[in-house]
Symmetry: C2
Subunit: 181 residues, 2 copies
DNA sequence: CATTTTGTTCAAGTTTTTTTGAACAAAGTT
DNA sequence: AACTTTGTTCAAAAAAACTTGAACAAAATG
């Protein structure tokens, strides 16, 4: 069989524009263009799409699609959809804003907050090395500011989730020295 | 006068660590390292700092400091502080989390939301070019999803600001109610 | 078990972003 | 007016992030 030479992958006009919206959104939250494209095309398409269909329709490399889907899976932004009679994985977009936001927060935000806590404890120790009293006092005051910001950020998360649909986030007391990772 | 040859700009240990926290935070919200460094040093220092002091203590170029301060001013993250007897501009950090967040949202977030609205209207028009009924219906349904996401995002902003402003929504138990706001 | 299908990995190439520093402008001094 | 101080601009260099594609692995098929 001669391979079909030039199958225009033709995304329709509205699909192109919609994908563009997701490319921008991705960039806004620090994700690469290819991830916006992949999620965008899944978002536009009624049926679940396979790996190959993403490569072909978006005209991007297998490597990009593979890595992009990996991140999207990790974020919970795409779901595997079993298609009978096909060995390929098929993907569908997560359409719940709440779940999308939760995935993003848990994956990209929470880790920074947690590691942040340890860093601040560390800084507190370093401040003790400061020579004079006035310096230490000022430094401790700023550290207090930092801790209050962190606390308020933590407080915000559950409220955000609640507004988006009603879920809880940081139920526990997070400030422990021996907190695991 | 012979110029002092090698004045170690020596940031103290706690300053270095604190600046590191801001460099990470900057990167998290998509701002370059140098901006994190500048804000971080201002945050650490009791007195207002001049342009030159930032260049010298951080050991980064004048260009970076100039551009960094420009962005920070635009975000409302630093304030000019008049120092009598000096021609130089002196800078102090904005320490109110609420104002910092508001500056960021207004400058980096809202514009995208607004241009987003126009884009969605545009997409609606493009959808009319779709050939068959079923395609149009599906596309319109997805457009509806997009609009609902946008609406909820808008709704969220004032709530975030209210929480950061000190308004106490739920002081004790976090988020269990169905009656938010 | 050899082959094909499906998808991942990663080094190298490409693109984008950030930083630098020299030239320039604006305003203050002498 | 000439000179100094202060800070901005922008083209080029450097660094970082992203994408590609070929080699590879894993599993299904014949």
């Amino acid at each position: 069989m001669p391979a079909t030479q030039s199958d225009t992958p033709t995304l329709s006009a509205w699909e192109t524009s919609t994908i563009d919206v997701f490319v921008r959104a991705a960039s806004l939250i620090g994700l690469p263009r290819s991830i916006g494209e992949i999620y965008g095309l899944l978002f536009c398409t009624p049926e679940a799409l396979s790996f190959d269909e993403l490569v072909e329709r978006l005209q991007i490399s297998k490597g990009s699609v593979s890595q992009g889907l990996k991140v999207l899976r990790q974020l919970g932004a795409v779901k595997l959809h079993y298609v009978p009679g096909s060995r390929r994985d098929h993907y569908q977009p997560e359409l719940s804003m709440k779940r999308l936001v939760r995935g993003f927060i848990k994956d990209q935000f929470e880790p920074h907050l947690l590691s942040g806590s340890q860093r601040l404890d560390n800084i507190e120790a370093l401040i003790q090395e400061e020579g004079d009293r006035a310096s230490r006092d000022h430094a401790l005051s700023r550290l207090g500011t930092l801790r209050s910001w962190q606390k308020r950020t933590r407080k915000l998360m559950p409220i955000v989730m609640a507004v988006l649909g009603g879920a809880k986030f940081f139920d526990k007391e997070p400030t422990d020295q021996e907190t695991i990772i």
